[in-house]
């Protein structure tokens, strides 16, 4: 045993002890190299295969990755792409408010989100699910009683109310805890993000999320070239891969900025039911509504501490 541990493997005048760990590392890398299809062995495939975790890349490494991605997306969609890596703003914790007394269930937000965030049109992915409930029925604890396929001629329907659900950006996110590759994490401004290059598609996070907010790319995402939004963020709306999980990021590509824009769902809402702002700014809209209106958070008893506040303005 001892002789084996001390045995040195010398290569290029550098000697490393041939340990069990080194041996395994080498064989894994070798196997990985063999797994890459021979026909597509250009440099970018190798680079993306060995790409580091987003939070562990140096500035230069990140710049190389971004350049590679921008080139790839620009070629695929025939339009110049921007992939931002804007970090979180200081003293910012994003919060969201949704006025249930105003929502009319028109689903404008669902499709404005799709337009902004480049979700696959077929197979279809929506970040926002609008739930319809019968007035007077049990609801908050029983989301199963809701209908998401409602399709009357006009909304709001007499005797019903509507509750859109999307990622609640929990302060204590169960999806982050279960991720085996740390491909999803909470950023300093409170947004739970995903590195699509590190997601292995195990969907543990989807099982862990009590809000059903995460979506899986069961097929190759397909978006028309004319409808693609080329203004993207690495952690947000850049084109996704087959087999990765995605979800609402509070439009990270729009909101992270000084000045930063409102999320797409806030801007489209025809009844002004959606509010967004900085929870750490006492003068923000979100703080005003938390302090002055009747507010609740979905499934509070699970201790996920969402930063998504449903409220009643009337």
């Amino acid at each position: 045993m001892e002789t084996a541990m001390n045995k040195k493997s010398c290569h290029n005048n550098k000697c490393k002890p041939l340990t069990r760990r080194n041996f395994l590392k080498g064989s894994v890398a070798g196997a990985a190299a063999l797994a890459i299809p021979v026909g597509t062995s250009d440099a970018s495939v190798w680079e993306s295969f060995f790409q580091k975790h987003f939070t562990e890349m140096s500035k230069e490494e990140l710049a190389r990755v971004i350049a590679r991605l921008e080139k790839k997306y620009s070629n695929k969609f025939n339009t110049p792409f921007t992939v931002k890596t804007t970090p979180a703003l200081p003293d910012t914790l994003f919060g969201y408010g949704l006025d249930l007394s105003r929502c009319i269930g028109c689903r404008r937000c669902v499709y404005a989100c799709v337009r902004e965030n480049n979700q696959s049109r077929d197979p279809q992915i929506h970040y926002i699910t609008v739930l319809e409930f019968q007035k007077g029925e049990k609801w908050v604890s029983d989301l199963e009683e809701s209908d998401k396929y409602y399709n009357p001629d006009t909304v709001p329907e007499e005797g019903y109310f509507y509750m859109p659900v999307q990622c609640q950006q929990c302060e204590n996110p169960p999806c982050v805890k279960v991720c085996p590759t740390k491909a999803t994490w909470k950023e300093p401004d409170g947004i739970v993000v995903i590195d699509y290059n590190w997601c292995i598609g195990c969907r543990y996070c989807m099982a862990a999320c009590p809000y059903g907010a995460r979506r899986f790319n069961w097929g190759e995402p397909q978006v028309r070239k004319e409808e693609i939004n080329p203004q993207t963020h690495y952690l947000g709306n850049r084109p996704r891969y087959k087999g990765v999980v995605e979800k609402c990021t509070y439009c990270i590509q729009r909101t992270r900025g000084n000045p930063g824009r409102y999320p797409a769902c806030v801007e489209i809402c025809p009844v002004g039911a959606r509010k967004f702002g900085n929870l750490l700014d006492p003068k923000s809209e979100i703080r005003y509504l938390i302090e002055h209106k009747r507010v609740f958070r979905l499934k509070e008893e699970l201790n996920t501490s969402p930063k998504f506040y449903y409220f009643f303005a009337t």
Binding site: I104, R121, D122, P123, Q124, T129, P259, Y262, G272, H292
Partner: protein, 208 residues
Amino acid sequence: MTNPNKLAILLTFALTISFLSAGGHATGSEAPSPPKKFEASETPREYETPKYFVPPPPFSEGIFPCSDCHSDMEVNPERRELEDEHVEISEIFNHASEQRWCLDCHNPDDRDKLRLANGDLVSFEESYNLCGQCHGTIFRDWKAGIHGKRTGEWNGKKQYRLCVHCHNPHSPKFKPIKPLPPPDNPLQTKYKKLSDEEIPRNPLGNIQ
């Protein structure tokens, strides 16, 4: 106590006595004078409400300035079926219509202005001051950014909208609208490679 102070107290006392005695005379046999007719102040008062960044009012085409037609017309305060340009208003008017008629909000002398209950004039660009007279709690929420739609920058320049951008002032309740399509049933998804033209369009279209 200093002398000027004494003088002031004496003066106040004398004035009070004289006011009281004058009041006593008025409550005598004389008939009360008719209430003074309220006249709008000539120069509009400056309001302390901040000047919100709002787009221009959504006038129907060709309807403004109102004075183009109204300057030559007799003021008619009667409740009646409206004609010409205002037929539609007569048809839809349901904004507390039992209690209200045109000149409660529109200024009779200068039709290009709105008139508050206290007689002050406001422009159509600042019509929120008119709506806020009755809808005070909503006005408060609107100023704070809670009522109504905001676009722009959450930490910068915000685009407010006038009440009348979303609510028809003559019929303010929201009308039902057609919902966009429900999500696909996942059981019916085919997972097929599509050409660019075959990929479904976003049903949102050009709605902004």
